[in-house]
Amino acid sequence: MLRFLLLFSRQGKLRLQKWFTPVTEREKKKVIREMTLMVLARPPCSCNFLHWRDLKIVYKRYASLYFCCGLEDQDNELLTLEVLHRYVELLDKYFGNVCELDIIFNFEKAYFILDEFLMGGEILETSKTAVGIAMEEAETLQETMEEYMSKPTY
């Protein structure tokens, strides 16, 4: 299973963090710092895999964003590259030519999409279209401003 998934910029600013195991705030900060340092220090044409503590780290750069995740020993690194790619494709489909700004300003959507694709560190849905459909339908459930105001909360 994946232990965590991080998105950060070339300057090391965090754009998304998903943790699949319970981790303290302090430990999270530590891991983020270490990942950022390690990945940003890699020369351009190196292989996308690292070894860190007892985990395999897979990272890939898409434009100005680094996608970085921690895997357990049994997981397939090459396939994880495909997982990262699939996530980028899903974001791209949803936002239309996704760029870092989209993820900054719509981070909650990025999380929603991720939650339709992965759960508990495992792949939830392998179909490209199913995730998009789920997002669309869920969106229809989101109340408009008027509906939101008029509906009772509890």
């Binding site: 292989c47 090459l78 396939l79 495909e82 759960m119 508990g120 392998t126 179909s127 109340e143 909360t153």
Partner: protein, 824 residues
């Protein structure tokens, strides 16, 4: 109260901040506003505020005051609220906070909601961060949803079940019925998550594994699904570069691996499909290689037939030649896993692997290095070592320590000749000397000591290396030790292996003194050099110079150096008669059983730090009341370990008298080197010396009594041997000598020495006194322990010295009349 600003507005504002301080200020202001809004229990804007809080949390600011608000959002009826609420719960809460349990009821309600997306939110949250208590409470609901026909919910329930099982393994059983028809689903999402669930169950419980294997006949089902995936036509929604649903394929292969492991029937059943996948998968893109990689891992792990295994290794071999770095990396990783079981097959790819040492990528280099060491054997040692030493020269510092250790280990196991071994060590010390691990120094010293015929060559090379560079401490330490030991060979120019160099005693002492004063030398190194200088006092003639050096350091600030110098000074002054024997050549050292860090000698139950050099001085038996300073060297134990020094081919200048003892005692006629224990050397303790060292000789005779014998009787001196068997080790004979004197005058300065043949080992403990009183008024007792692992006939040669009526007496004798029980 004006409406709180919108999320995107806030983000935009914060991004305009030019400094960290400015950003912090903005955030604090907004947090204050949000806090007051929370206090007012504002339902309308809670969602917006929590969303903003989550953004600020991502920037690294504390957001714990929003935790309860997330719970309120989850409880709301509005979908927008729930969505943000659950997201907030996943980001801000975890099982460590007690608050999280309040979610349980909400989640339970939402799991039964009429809208599948609400149910989905609940399942997702539970499946990501549900604690054990929550899982226990809600497992029933999850199990229900696992049986629904709604594939959207079913797939989420499956992964939620996986999480529940991970948190509370005992609940695994309850999900078993629901798994019955999971694999007959058409929906890929459900199929994938079902395979994950089945994998989790099989990995955790051997019973489940058996159940799925034998009862549910999972393997044929999986094989069928996999086959369909491969054979089926193009499916746009699952296609990745021409391959249909690679995620599902890989997951199935992984489950097959678990099912086929150590089971012949299952492995047989999946043989064909594995071969098919291995040969037909398109390898031009990463995705195909990902599937091949998983296939190879599966083939290697199950009981596959040899043809399939060869196919797998060849795939890995092809991977090694791939341009893609990632693929080379995984190939090296997999080969590392298989090198133990399929060693020969991997050997075929050795040259490619060695080439990877030159790769630019750090991860690949490391893997290649590990794999190279795994592939070294007696046949390829020379070639491999050449490559590895070249690698050691040029690699990054992070590799040097591991590489150096690896080289030492490999050299020790497979060295084709002693000279090659020493050369290799020299090479490592000179190129990566500062990265060599601390425990290598004693190991190397031991190796050098035991390579008797190479001493001259070794010391010469080490001396030359010292002239070049004194910054690498391990190299300097080993060199100083060798020069101290074999300095005489150095100045006498006796090297056979290469051109002997001309060096004078003064030059050697210059170098050693240089180490003492150099800023580059660590305190440990200084200790080594001082001791080396001291040892040369018996090997060189320039004793005065050495005396001067030693006396200078007796006021050194460094306590260790000072102590050594003071004691060496004492050796020059009061105990000069002992100096030659003390500073003799080291005997051959026995390697301890463990290959780990140097064994530490147990004395009286306390361990001593293994600073090798102080302990390297062999001690001749001395009555306990003499030479107390020297005893302090060993930490003040009341047992003086003794070595019968044995000299290799060239007798040292001093201590020649002891050599004679061993003249022709060896049973096999080889070099008269009796491996005597050197208890003061940390590395070389044969185990038996440690037994019962804390207690005095065992007088409780619990074994069958062995009759005592008279070993020597001459000129009024009679020596009797009595025997016990050391209980812990039946190969050890414990002999107590009783020396008595029938003459009218005392025998003073009585010293008893003994030597045994090659296959034995001997230890003499300290005597009770060194005066044998006249007229049998008392006796001197001393304990000898003899290790006789080969149970050969015990023989001993003894040497007695004493002063009788003012004149020194010396005698040699052989003791052959040991009773058979003492050595059988």
């Amino acid at each position: 109260m004006p409406a709180p600003i919108r999320l995107r507005e806030l983000i935009r504002t914060i991004r305009t901040a030019r400094t960290q301080a400015e950003e912090r200020e903005m955030i604090q202001k907004e947090c204050a506003a949000i806090r007051s809004s929370f206090r007012e229990e504002d339902n309308t804007y809670r969602c917006r505020n929590v969303a903003k809080l989550l953004y600020m949390h991502m920037l690294g600011y504390p957001a714990h005051f929003g935790q309860l608000e997330c719970l309120k959002l989850i409880a709301s009826q509005k979908f927008t609220d729930k969505r943000i609420g659950y997201l907030g719960a996943m980001l801000l809460l975890d099982e460590r906070q007690d608050v999280h349990l309040l979610m349980t009821n909400c989640i339970k309600n939402d799991l039964n909601h009429s809208t599948q997306y609400v149910q989905g939110l609940a399942l997702c949250t539970l499946g990501c961060m549900g604690s054990s208590e929550m899982c226990r409470d809600l497992a029933g609901e999850v199990e229900k949803l696992l049986k629904t026909s709604n594939s959207y919910l079913r797939k989420k329930a499956a992964l939620c079940a996986v999480h529940v099982i991970r948190k509370v393994p005992e609940l695994m059983e309850m999900f078993l019925p629901a798994t019955k028809n999971l694999l007959s689903e058409k929906n890929h999402g459900v199929l994938h998550t079902s395979v994950v669930l089945l994998t989790e169950m099989c990995e955790r419980s051997p019973d489940m594994l058996l159940h799925f294997r034998k009862v549910c006949l999972l393997v044929p089902q999986l094989v069928r699904i996999l086959k369909n995936l491969i054979m089926s036509g193009y499916s746009p929604e699952h296609d990745v570069s021409g391959i249909s649903d690679p995620f599902l394929q890989v997951r199935i292969l992984r489950l097959l691996r678990i099912l086929g492991r150590s089971d012949d029937d299952s492995s047989e059943a999946m043989n064909d499909i594995l071969a098919q996948v291995a040969t037909n998968t398109e390898t031009s893109k990463n995705v195909g290689n990902a599937i091949l990689y998983e296939t190879v891992l599966t083939i290697m792990d199950i009981k596959s037939e040899s043809g399939l295994r060869v196919l797998a290794i060849n795939i890995l071999g092809r991977f090694l030649l791939n341009n893609d770095k990632n693929i080379r990396y995984v190939a090296l990783t997999s080969l590392l896993k298989t090198v133990q079981t399929d060693h020969n097959a991997v050997q075929r790819h050795r040259s490619t692997i060695v080439d990877c040492l030159k790769d630019l990528d750090v991860s690949i280099k490391r893997r290649a290095m590990e794999l190279s060491f795994a592939l070294v054997n007696g046949n390829n040692i020379r070639g491999m070592m050449k490559e590895l030493l070249y690698f050691l020269d040029s690699c990054d510092p992070e590799f040097k320590a591991d590489c150096a250790s690896g080289v030492f280990l490999a050299a020790e196991k497979y060295a084709p000749s002693k000279r090659w071994h020493i050369d290799t060590i020299m090479r490592v010390l000179t190129t990566a000397g500062s990265y060599v691990r601390d425990d290598s120094v004693p190991n190397l010293i031991q190796l050098i000591t035991n390579s008797v015929e190479m001493h001259a060559y070794t010391v010469q090379r080490l001396y030359k290396a010292l002239l070049d560079d004194i910054s690498q401490q391990p190299l300097v330490q080993v060199s100083s030790w060798c020069i101290g030991e074999y300095g005489d060979l150095l100045v006498s120019g006796q090297c056979e292996e290469e051109e002997p160099i001309q060096v004078t005693e003064d030059e050697v002492l210059d170098v050693l003194e240089g180490l003492l004063v150099s800023n580059l030398s660590t305190p440990v190194t200084r200790g080594y050099s001082l001791t080396a200088i001291m040892k040369l006092s018996t090997r060189f003639s320039s004793v005065n110079r050495i005396k001067k050096v030693v006396s200078i350091y007796s006021s050194s600030i460094d306590v260790e150096l000072q102590q050594r110098a003071v004691e060496y000074n004492a050796l020059f002054k009061k105990y000069d008669h002992m100096r030659p024997a003390l500073l003799e050549r080291m005997p051959i050292m026995e390697k301890t059983a463990s290959n780990g860090p140097t064994e530490i000698m147990q004395t009286n139950g306390e361990t001593e730090p293994s600073v090798p050099d102080t302990k390297h001085l062999p001690l001749v038996t001395q009555p306990a009341n003499q030479a107390n300073d020297l005893l302090d060297l060993l930490g003040g134990n009341d047992v003086v370990p003794v070595i019968q020094t044995t000299l290799p081919t060239k007798p040292a200048s001093a201590g020649g008298e002891l050599l004679d003892l061993l003249g022709d005692l060896s049973l096999t006629g080889g070099p008269t080197v009796v491996p005597a224990p050197a208890p003061s050397v940390p590395v070389s303790q044969p185990p038996f010396l440690l037994d019962g060292l804390s207690s005095q000789p065992l007088f409780n005779d619990t074994s069958a009594a062995i009759p005592p014998m008279t070993a020597y009787s001459k000129n009024g001196l009679k020596i009797e041997f009595t025997f016990e068997r050391a209980n812990p080790n039946p190969n050890i004979a414990v002999i107590t000598i009783h020396a008595t004197n029938t003459t009218e005058a005392d025998m003073t300065e009585f010293v008893f020495q003994a030597a045994v043949p090659k296959t034995f080992q001997l230890q003499l403990l300290s005597p009770s006194s060194n005066i044998v009183p006249a007229l049998n008024q008392g006796s001197v007792t001393q304990v000898i322990r003899v290790l006789n692992p080969q149970k050969q006939q015990l023989r001993m040669r003894v040497k007695l010295t004493y002063t009788h009526k003012g004149s020194p007496v010396q005698d040699l004798a052989e003791v052959n009349n040991f009773p058979p029980q003492s050595w059988q």
